[in-house]
């Protein structure tokens, strides 16, 4: 149960990594190229954790 809860937090962090970098680009804090990398990391983190959650819950 704790593992699943932690994985949900990781998934949420993945979503944050998807949405925060574009706003940083908008405010001029990072470049568009850096944004690409952060969004890609966010995607991997989000889908990775959600897939593991599903496996744990189903098993």
């Amino acid at each position: 149960m704790n593992t699943v809860f932690l994985l949900w937090i990781v998934a949420f962090i993945g979503l944050l990594l998807t949405i925060i970098p574009p706003f940083l680009v908008f405010y001029g804090a990072i470049s568009l190229e850096d944004n690409y990398q952060w969004m890609a990391i966010g995607m991997v983190v989000y889908f990775g954790s959600r897939i593991i959650i599903r496996r744990i819950v189903v098993d």
């Binding site: 574009p22 908008f26 568009l32 890609a40 989000y46 599903r54």
Partner: protein
Amino acid sequence: MFNAFKKKLNAVTEYEREPVPSKKWKGWWSFLGLYAGEHTAGTEFVIGPLFVAHGVAAFDLVVGLLIGNLLAVLSWAFLCGPIAVRERITLYFKLEKICGKNLTTIYNLVNALMFCFLAGSMIAVSATAVGIPFNLPMPNLGDWLPTSVMWVVIVVAIGMITTVIAMLGYDQVSKFANLAAPWMILIFIGAAVAVLPEIGVNNWSEFWPVAESRIWTGIPLEGQSKFSIYHVIFFAWFCNMAMHIGMADMSILRYAKKSYFGFASAGGMFVGHYIAWLASGILYAVFLYKSQNSLEFAPGPVAYYAAGVAGAICVMVAGWTTANPTIYRAGLAVQSILPNIKTWKITFIVGAITTLAACFPALVMKLLEFVALYGLLLMPMGAIIIIDVYVYPRMGLKSEWALDRGLRFNGAAGLTWVLSLLACYCLSFFLGWEIFFLGLPGWFVAALLYILLGMLFQQRLRTASNI
């Protein structure tokens, strides 16, 4: 291994000809996720930009979408949801009871074909993203035929994957949509926000003036017609007309625990058909601005420019989450014609036709018109169901006439379908009404016709029986 896979496929049961049992009913979240996923999809990467291309003004878009989407949610909630939960059978089985097997077969063929084309357009959208690493030449706004061999190869590969997922049934589709939906909408929003500085928006107070002057300018691109606020309202309302007013989502909402779960469609309308359309419009406006009004029309590279690999993958995933339930629905439509063939075999055939259709970029370039036509063609059957369920009993007419009389073709329903579409055609041909506006008068014509023809046919049969 193949036998194990086949065994799993054979075990997929979708209650095609029986009410969904209570143990299979699903909660609110399942539908919210499904609708949000389905309507935050590949089409959104096309429709938002097409509004830009058709010269919609900023105010018209923002207000028009608000009104149109609200009307769409109300249609799901008050027309489709209550009947779906009351009957708990597929649209096709319900139609068979009202219209008879032969008329339902014709309807199902038209329906399945439309679903195939819609899913095909989504696969084509996905292909524009998959093609990026292969330097695939992207189609232009005026392209109708396949643009290269590589285009066909990529489309076929995506079509096969999408079909296999759809073959595994509704549960898999629902899980996939639920999982991807929150991430996709964030990609839409994020991608649009990240590129705003490229068109001169450096703080939020600059957004509206730039939106009016560089995004939704009110001036259509060369060769495109001008859209007003009425186009936006009616398109937003009727783009899923086949699903809500046309009752196709009976097949989905019959799994709902409560009839008001139709309101879950708001997740799809106000996230996908509002935020995502605005966001994709911004992305396309940036592309036009930087490419000096290039005619290339490819959502994949546009999203890739704004969000990198995540953007391109979002276009692919968005295409899949629409194509999957659409192929599933098309499978159900054909299944009701051929009930003895396993669902997965039907879905495989439907997926193959979808993939063939996806090879033609015309499906993407003319998506607005196609979506409007698709809703219009299927709408009369929704009117027939509403009248049959709510009005006939009050008028002393027999509901489910075909089932009651053992008819294979309910003439009243068949004539209603043909004549109401003919009326819509006349409105278009003689009065010059655009296809986006035909659905509303068409529904009332269909409803009125089914009442009058029902009275006529049932009276005639009763008289004949008495003699």
